[in-house]
Amino acid sequence: MNKRMDDQELMEKIKKGDEVAFSQLMIMYKDRVVNFLYQFTGDYQLAVDLSQETFLRVFFKAKKYRPIAPVSSWIYAIAANLARTERKKISRQAAIPLDEVTDSYSAGTYSLDHNDPGLMRNVKQALDRLHPRYRLPVILKDVEGFSQEEIATMLKLPVGTVKARISRGREYLRRWLEEGREIKNRAEENEGYGLKLPDD
């Protein structure tokens, strides 16, 4: 509650153009916003650029903020909109011939051993493979820890739709992780049956 009060006070000052208050707000949220955008885009530099743009909008659009929702939700909503717009821009620009497209995820192999350093990489790859429609609510819920109601407010969607997308997104991730595990097991079995060449 106190944090929210602080946020609101900072926003009131930012509305008047107070750069000190703006710096304080940035210090509070910059890491979370960068991490959220990194999980969504998979590109650190792009995430930093989008985060900077997010905070610029926070400063210049502060007068449009209404204290009916937490400041964090408002900032994340701006970041999510920017990320979606950027993704659309990239998908329009990227015209790769179908022959050159490889399914890099299914070619990868990993185990579900927590000590496996490739596990997290593969989880990240699965997350990147997920359609943004599902990826965004899944990240907001499972990485950032927002409630479904807050996510619904941010994305301007009904709560039921958000619930369904989170559930569907998790289902896809689980399925792909299991597929990857089966590929790994099959590869290990094939290695076991392989012929060994005699040493010279």
Binding site: F22, M26, Y38, L56, I139, D142, V143, R174
Partner: protein, 121 residues
């Protein structure tokens, strides 16, 4: 629920050092650009208004009124007022009026039928 656990364990990244100062620099840059843009807009609007005024005043297609209120004022101020006294012979005027034949209009009712009659085909 494994996938949820794995997602929450994904490596967390942080903002690079100097993030705030970069954003603040961009904020100031945008403010300066906004001021410049506003000046440009005002300047262009002013130039446009002057251009329209010049075109309206100089354009030969637009006909000036022959005698405007401004001209009347300037004429009155620059010229002396001369009072003209013209003799008028009212006797002649009256005589001419009496010589004219006088017309008398007699209004008479010429029919008992109503003015608007029903038309039959």
């Amino acid at each position: 629920m494994e996938e949820k656990k794995y997602i929450s364990q994904l490596p967390v990244v942080e903002a690079p050092p100097g993030f705030e100062s970069q954003v603040l620099a961009r904020v100031r840059d945008r403010k300066v650009r906004a001021v410049r843009r506003r000046r440009w807009e005002f300047g262009l609007a002013g130039v446009g208004a002057v251009a329209v005024a010049v075109v309206v005043l100089i354009s030969p297609g637009i006909k000036q009124p022959e005698y405007s209120a401004r001209q009347v004022k300037t004429d009155n101020s620059s010229l002396e007022t001369i009072q003209v006294m013209e003799p008028l012979n009212l006797e002649n005027e009256m005589r001419r009026a009496t010589d004219d034949p006088q017309t008398v209009f007699i209004l008479e009712k010429v029919s008992d039928q109503p003015l608007i009659q029903q038309v039959r085909y």
